[in-house]
């Protein structure tokens, strides 16, 4: 057993932190929360130049051929900076779907474009039922001529409003088990018949409603095998869950660091508030939460990275991290007192990120149910 990171991973972490500290200050994050697009194209281009989009894509698709675990390290730093923009939806949600199920042609086209920053992408799975169960897929894709016609509404699709590619999970066959009869399609973001509406979220994350009204998709745009799309979705959601955990761990660490620093400098009653045992124990509890979250996350990420069965570990991680991140930000706010309640303080960014992350790719209750199932209960 080796709990250490490799030298390359440490270098990746350091360089990512340096870059993001300079290029992604808190003011930018706050600005992007209110901005329609939600990202700065010039920063996007710089990130692409660093090779980050394609970090975990094979080299033949303009990727760096690094591992999922390496990506987790990078995502931690992105979470620490609360990086706004379509990195996660493009790389993790859409990218891994294409990587998992795409034809050679599709991978060449789509992954390369994501890797170079040319294309923004996302994955449309959830619908108004807001569920990650196969039975929740009601958007239909009916065979018509030499392609399919997609009808229905997707909800909570990240960055759909700016996506060039939307990977859509739609039902191609009724009857039988709900896991059967779902197909993944690569749909152009601005295809005729698509109406995208930006939802107003607590953190300003760009979740969208996407209405498909007789959207025509050619056969060539089927991703993977017809009717056999659900196992791919399942796998991608699992990866996305642990990737989100990595982001959340980074955010939690930032909240902790900020709070400890504040506790050392803020003086009340003639001494730093960090000299009061109540505050000390708050910080200790935050550290316990961050540390345990990091361990669970990397345990799951490692297994995913190694291609091992990881359903149990992923669910354990997401169930735990959801609540740990919220606890950490709550205590972070408590330590900062009134000043943290101001919009222009950084702590609200983390609290809001926590409240956002906790429901994406599975709530704690949903993941605990999965753990129970894995335990044979």
């Amino acid at each position: 057993m080796d709990f250490g990171f490799t030298e390359e991973q440490e270098m990746l972490r350091t360089s990512a932190r340096d870059f993001l500290t300079t290029e992604c200050p808190a003011d930018l994050v706050k600005e992007m929360a209110e901005d329609q697009q939600g990202y700065k194209p010039d920063m996007w281009a710089k990130i692409a130049e660093l090779g980050w989009m394609g970090l975990a894509f094979p080299e033949q698709y303009e990727g760096m051929g690094m591992t999922f675990l390496d990506l987790a390290v990078l995502l931690e730093e992105m979470g620490r900076a609360v990086l706004p923009g379509p990195f996660f939806s493009s790389v993790v949600e859409a990218g891994f779907a294409v990587l998992e199920a795409g034809s050679e042609e599709q991978k060449k086209e789509i992954l390369s474009k994501i890797a170079t920053g040319e294309a923004i992408a996302t994955l449309a799975v959830t619908e108004p039922s807001a569920s990650y169960e196969a039975s929740a897929i009601a958007v239909t894709a009916k065979g018509e001529g030499d392609g399919y016609v997609i009808d229905g509404t997707k909800l909570f699709v990240d960055n759909a409003h700016i996506a060039d590619y939307i990977i859509v999970a739609a039902r191609t066959k009724e009857g039988g088990k709900p896991e059967e009869g779902i197909t993944l399609f690569v749909v152009e973001g601005k295809a005729p018949g698509i109406t995208t509406t930006l939802l107003k979220t607590i953190s300003g994350s760009k979740q969208c409603e996407v209405i498909f009204d007789k959207v025509k998709v050619p056969k060539a745009n089927v991703l993977g095998d017809v009717d056999k799309g659900w196992p791919v979705v399942d796998k991608v959601i699992e990866k996305a869950a642990v990737a989100k955990c990595a982001e959340m761990v980074g955010g939690a660490q930032a909240a902790l660091d900020m709070s400890v620093a504040y506790a050392k400098e803020r003086v009340q009653f003639g001494k730093p508030i960090g000299a009061f045992q109540a505050i000390q124990h708050h910080c200790a509890n935050m550290l316990i939460d961050v540390d345990s979250s990091r361990f669970l996350t990397y345990q799951a990420a490692w297994k995913v990275s190694e291609g091992m069965e990881a359903t149990m570990e992923v669910s354990m991680a997401k169930a735990w991290v959801n609540e740990a991140y919220r606890r950490v930000t709550q205590l972070g706010h408590q330590i900062h007192g009134g000043i943290g309640f101001c919009m222009d303080h950084d702590m609200p960014l983390y609290f809001k990120a926590a409240k956002t992350g906790e429901s994406l790719f599975g709530t704690s209750d949903w993941h605990r149910e999965k753990v129970a199932q894995e335990l044979g209960l």
Binding site: L155, I202, Q207, Q334, G338, C342, K355, L360
Partner: protein, 393 residues
């Protein structure tokens, strides 16, 4: 022992509900403690204040000699109902804090000049206490008042002043003796006309995107000495009277109870996929737990109110009620948002947000609950030291 309300108290509660139904525009909802944002909303809030004053309800807890009805319980019931139904108009600062301080420590001239106007809802008061360096450690305040003839000249900065941008007057805590030890012995309580030159109000935006508080800068503000309430350097005692009048904390609890009730109704409604959250055993347990906490919080608040009607000055009981109530509000806020899953991310004005039950904002507001007006840590200190007699560190 008797946990029931008297028939006249129940009748009053119903009267208040009828009043709110009649006077408040349908669907209008104020924020925590009756906070409103826009100018139109402020107009409505002001008109509600006037209507409450006309009914004699605004100052119903005041002693009879000052025009009140000496009815503390009625006041708490009013507070509960107004906040449960999210109706603005109550005047916590003027009616609930400054007026009791004037009654106990003010001189006749001050009482004559201010009390009637407060009772009539004619004046907006704000509370100038906290500073950037004086949060929990209020005696550490630095806003300085220096004698100059018949006046004090005030320089400094206050923060977390609610209603400052609408205020006519402010009850301010200033340092008149920076050398005093302990620090609280150098503080004076003084009334400031907000039209006085030198006052700059700078609204703060909270993480809930509300402009409920301001920074207020005092730059050579000249205030007559006769505006000092009580003794010079004896202001801390006056402040404690102001803070001690209404200690039930029911307003936060009422808001949280409303949230829990809304969540319960939400859980009964079929979701877009036809499923009903109330059928999920995990949801049932969590909602039942929230409800249980809410009943206890409310009971504690009324207990404090009842103690005050008995003439007692609840100390640790009030701290317990405060901690429990604020932590309940916080817990209800973030648990409610979590229960709503992805919908819990949506702000109230978003497409697809549940118009009847939106917990995203509530989860944010919950953050402030355990910080404002005495942090949970400070409350626990009080419980430990004064309630249990534990030795100081």
């Amino acid at each position: 022992m008797d946990f029931s309300f008297k028939p006249e108290q129940e009748a009053y509660r119903q009267e208040i509900r009828d009043f709110i139904k009649k006077e408040l525009p349908p669907g209008f909802e104020a924020g925590v403690g009756g906070h409103v944002e826009s100018d139109e909303e402020w107009k409505i809030a002001r008109s509600m204040t006037k209507k409450l004053a006309q009914k004699g309800w605004l100052n119903i807890a005041w002693p009879k000699e000052y025009g009140g009805q000496n009815n503390h319980m009625f006041s708490v019931i009013l507070n509960e109902e107004m906040n449960y139904w999210c109706a603005p108009g109550l005047d916590f600062g003027g009616v609930g804090m400054l007026a009791p301080a004037l009654m106990a420590h003010g001189n006749e001239e001050q009482k004559k000049e201010h009390l009637a106007k407060i009772a009539a809802g004619d004046v907006v008061w704000c509370q100038g206490w906290s500073e950037p360096e004086a949060g929990s450690d209020l005696p550490n305040l630095k806003t300085r008042a220096v004698e100059d003839g018949d006046d004090y000249v005030i320089n400094g900065q206050k923060v977390w002043t609610s209603l400052a941008h609408h205020a006519d007057w402010c009850f301010l805590l200033v340092k008149t003796d920076p050398e005093a030890q302990p620090k609280h012995r150098g503080i004076t309580f003084i009334l400031v006309d907000f039209k006085t030159p030198g006052i700059t109000v700078s609204p703060l935006v909270t993480m809930s995107k509300e402009r409920s508080f301001s920074e207020v800068f005092y730059d050579n503000v000249r205030v007559p000495k006769k505006n000092v309430v009580g003794q010079v350097n004896g202001g801390f005692k006056v402040a404690m009277t102001a803070a001690g009048f209404e200690r039930s904390g029911i307003y936060r609890i009422a808001l949280a109870l409303r949230n829990v009730d809304r969540l319960i109704e939400w859980a009964k409604r079929p979701q877009p996929d036809g499923t009903v959250p109330a059928k999920d055993p995990v949801v049932r347990q969590k909602l039942a737990d929230l409800y249980i906490r809410g009943r206890i919080a409310r009971l504690l608040a009324y207990r404090v109110a009842w103690l005050q009607t008995q003439g007692a000055e609840p100390e640790w009981e009030a701290s317990i009620a405060r901690v429990f109530g604020s932590e309940f509000q916080q817990y209800a806020g973030h648990t409610g948002a979590s229960l709503q899953g992805m919908y819990g991310m949506l702000m109230r004005d978003s497409k697809w947000a549940d118009p009847e039950c939106n917990m995203a904002l509530q989860s944010i507001l919950g953050i402030g609950a355990t910080i404002a007006a005495g942090t949970s840590e400070v409350q626990r200190n009080a419980i430990a030291l004064r309630g249990l007699g534990l030795p100081r560190g």
